[in-house]
C-alpha cells in the first residue's frame, strides 16, 4: 500500500474512505474536519452520510462517478489549511485527582510533573474534538504536548464512571458511558456527552474546542446539580 496521502480506499460494498494520515497528526485531522464539512455543504450525488475520524473521512453511499468526484475535490485545495467550519468552544468543569482522578499522580509522574503541575497543565490546555466514537458523543481530544505521550496501561481499568477524563497517547477522552479502559483517569466531569431527551442529544461535534478548568469536587457536583441540560455546568460560545 502506498504511503501517499490523502488517498481513497473502498470500505465494504457501500462506502469509501478518504484517508489523510495513518498516524496521529493535527494538520491531517483538521483536513478531515474541513473536507467533511465541505462534503456536507455540497454532497456529491449518491452520498448518504459522511463522518470524520482521527485521520479519515467516511463517505457512505456509492455511485459510479463518486470516486472521481472525490479525487477532484481533494485535489482542489490544501485541506489542512482550510479554515475550520463554525464550531463551539466549551469550558467543562473538571475535578482533578483524589477520588475523582485516581490515576492523576501516576500520569503526572509519567509526564515528568508533580500533581499540581499536571493539573495546571491539563486545566489550561485547549484541546480539539478530533473525533467522536466508541460510544455516542464520546470525544477523542488532542493533541496534547509531547510530555503526555503516555502509553496505554497493559491491563484494563475494569470500569471508569461516565464523565471520567482519561489520558494516553497525547489525547484525552471524556467517557460518555461507564466502561473499561486502558487509559488513566485523571479527573471527573459531569458532562453528559449523550442525553437522548435533550434538544441536542449529542453535545459535541468534531472540530469543537474544549478546556477543562479545575474545580473542587464540591463545586463540580453543585454546578452539575444546577444544570438542567446535563452538561455538568459547562458553558460554551460559538467560534467562527
Amino acid at each position: 500500500m502506498s504511503d501517499v496521502f490523502p488517498r481513497i480506499e473502498p470500505l465494504g460494498e457501500a462506502a469509501l474512505l478518504v484517508r489523510f494520515t495513518d498516524r496521529l497528526d493535527d494538520a491531517a485531522n483538521r483536513a478531515c474536519v474541513a473536507f467533511r464539512a465541505d462534503l456536507e455543504a455540497d454532497r456529491p450525488e449518491g452520498v448518504e452520510e459522511t463522518a470524520s475520524s482521527l485521520g479519515s473521512v467516511l463517505v457512505r453511499g456509492v455511485s459510479p462517478g463518486l470516486e472521481g468526484a472525490l479525487q477532484d475535490r481533494l485535489a482542489a485545495r490544501d485541506w489542512s489549511a482550510v479554515p475550520p467550519p463554525p464550531r463551539r468552544l466549551w469550558a467543562i468543569p473538571c475535578s482533578y485527582g483524589g477520588e475523582d482522578g485516581p490515576q492523576l499522580a501516576e500520569a503526572a509522574s509519567m509526564a515528568g510533573m508533580d500533581p499540581a503541575e499536571a493539573i495546571a497543565a491539563l486545566a489550561s490546555a485547549r484541546v480539539r474534538v478530533l473525533a467522536l466514537g466508541f460510544a455516542p458523543g464520546m470525544p477523542y481530544l488532542g493533541i496534547l504536548p509531547e510530555a503526555w505521550d503516555l502509553p496505554r496501561q497493559t491491563g484494563l481499568t475494569p470500569r471508569v464512571p461516565e464523565g471520567a477524563l482519561v489520558v494516553a497517547v497525547r489525547q484525552l477522552v471524556l467517557f460518555a458511558t461507564s466502561a473499561p479502559t486502558g487509559w488513566r483517569q485523571v479527573g471527573l466531569t459531569r458532562f453528559g456527552c449523550f442525553r437522548p431527551g435533550r434538544s441536542r442529544p449529542i453535545a459535541l461535534s468534531p472540530g469543537d474546542e474544549i478546556a477543562f478548568p479545575a474545580v473542587s469536587p464540591a463545586e463540580l457536583r453543585e454546578r452539575a446539580e444546577a444544570d438542567p441540560d446535563g452538561h455538568g455546568g459547562a458553558t460554551w460560545e460559538r467560534l467562527e
Binding site: 500500500m1 470500505l11 460494498e13 467522536l132 466514537g133 449529542i202
Partner: protein
C-alpha cells in the same frame, strides 16, 4: 395495543435503525437480521418497528384484531394451542394470546404488526440501542401501542441463513497488514460461533493461535462498520453487529458482504463458519431481495370445517 404477558431477556423493539449519526459516534443499529425485516415488509406492506427476540420466549396478547408477520429464526408459535406457521403473515383475532418458544435454529426472530409498533422514537427511530443507552429490553407488563389491522394470510419462502456456512468477505483497508500466511490460514480455518455474542459482536472460536498483524497495537483508530471481522488483542475474531462501536483501533481482517451478514449474525452457537474473500462486483451481485409472498394455504387436516364460513356472501339461494 400488544401487551407482553411474559418476556425473556434482551427482547427489544427494532426497525431499520438510525443512519446519519456516525460522525457523532452513534452506530446505525436496528434489526440484526435485515433480511427478516425485508421479509416482514414484503409480507405486511408496512412493517415499521417490530419485536426482535434473540431466542428468548415471549407471550403476548392482542387487544384488537391484528395482522402479524413472523420472520427470522424460526420459533414454535402457537395461539391457544394451535400451531402457527413461521414465515407467514396472518390475522389474529381480538384477545388472541400468542406464544413464541425457541426452536434451536438461528438466533434472532421477529414479530411485526402491520403498520408497525408506535413506541417512542428517538432520533428518528424506535430501535433500542442498548450499548448507546437508547431504549431498554422489553419486559412482562409492557404495552406496545399499535393499530388494529387485517388482511390476507401469506407465506414467504425465506433465504436459508440459520445454520452458519460459508460467509463471503471483502478486504478492509487493514487486510493487507496481516501477513499473507495469516490470511491464508484464516481462509482455511473452520470457525465455531461461540456462545458469547450479542448485538455488538459475536465471538468466533478456532483451533490454532490468534491472528495478528505487525504493529497492531499502535494503529490509528478508524471507522468500523457492522460486518467487520475485528481481531481483538489476543487475535480472536469477532463479527461486529448492528450495535458495534463506530471507531476502533483493532485491525479488521475483512468485512462480511451485505448479502451474507444476516447469515453471519444468525449462526447459532456451535455453528461452523468459513470465510472466503470475493470481489466487490461479486458482493454487489450477491444482493438478493426477499421472495414474493404467496397465499398461505393451510393443510386441509387443520381446517375446522364446522367453524369455517364456506359459502360467504350467499344469503338465500332464491334471492336474485
Amino acid at each position: 395495543m400488544i401487551e407482553l404477558l411474559a418476556c425473556g431477556p434482551l427482547v427489544t423493539v427494532q426497525d431499520a435503525g438510525r443512519p446519519g449519526y456516525l460522525s457523532q459516534g452513534l452506530a446505525q443499529g436496528g434489526a440484526a437480521d435485515r433480511m427478516a425485516l425485508a421479509e416482514a415488509e414484503r409480507l405486511l406492506g408496512e412493517a415499521g418497528a417490530g419485536i426482535e427476540t434473540p431466542g428468548a420466549p415471549l407471550r403476548l396478547k392482542l387487544d384488537a384484531p391484528m395482522r402479524l408477520a413472523l420472520t427470522g429464526a424460526p420459533m414454535r408459535a402457537s395461539v391457544a394451542g394451535r400451531a402457527l406457521e413461521w414465515n407467514t403473515a396472518q390475522t389474529l383475532p381480538d384477545g388472541a394470546v400468542l406464544d413464541l418458544k425457541p426452536a434451536g435454529r438461528g438466533v434472532y426472530s421477529y414479530l411485526h404488526v402491520q403498520g408497525g409498533l408506535r413506541t417512542e422514537a428517538v432520533l428518528g427511530s424506535r430501535a433500542a440501542h442498548l450499548i448507546a443507552g437508547i431504549g431498554r429490553p422489553l419486559e412482562a407488563g409492557d404495552r406496545l401501542p399499535c393499530e388494529a389491522s387485517e388482511g390476507p394470510a401469506l407465506r414467504i419462502v425465506p433465504q436459508d441463513r440459520f445454520g452458519g456456512g460459508e460467509i463471503r468477505l471483502l478486504p478492509t483497508p487493514q487486510t493487507r497488514l496481516f501477513p499473507e500466511a495469516e490470511r491464508a490460514r484464516f481462509a482455511a480455518t473452520a470457525f465455531t460461533r461461540d456462545p458469547r455474542g450479542n448485538r455488538q459482536g459475536v465471538r468466533l472460536d478456532m483451533d490454532g493461535g490468534g491472528f495478528a498483524t505487525e504493529g497492531q497495537l499502535s494503529l490509528l483508530s478508524d471507522f468500523i462498520l457492522p460486518g467487520d471481522i475485528q481481531m481483538t488483542g489476543d487475535g480472536v475474531p469477532y463479527i461486529l453487529g448492528p450495535e458495534c462501536q463506530t471507531t476502533g483501533g483493532y485491525p479488521r481482517i475483512g468485512t462480511v458482504i451485505g448479502a451474507d451478514l444476516p447469515r453471519a449474525l444468525q449462526a447459532p452457537p456451535g455453528a461452523t463458519l468459513r470465510f472466503r474473500f470475493v470481489t466487490a462486483e461479486e458482493a454487489r451481485a450477491a444482493a438478493t431481495p426477499p421472495a414474493k409472498p404467496q397465499p398461505l394455504v393451510r393443510d386441509p387436516r387443520e381446517v375446522d370445517l364446522y367453524g369455517a364460513q364456506l359459502i360467504g356472501g350467499v344469503v338465500s339461494a332464491r334471492a336474485p
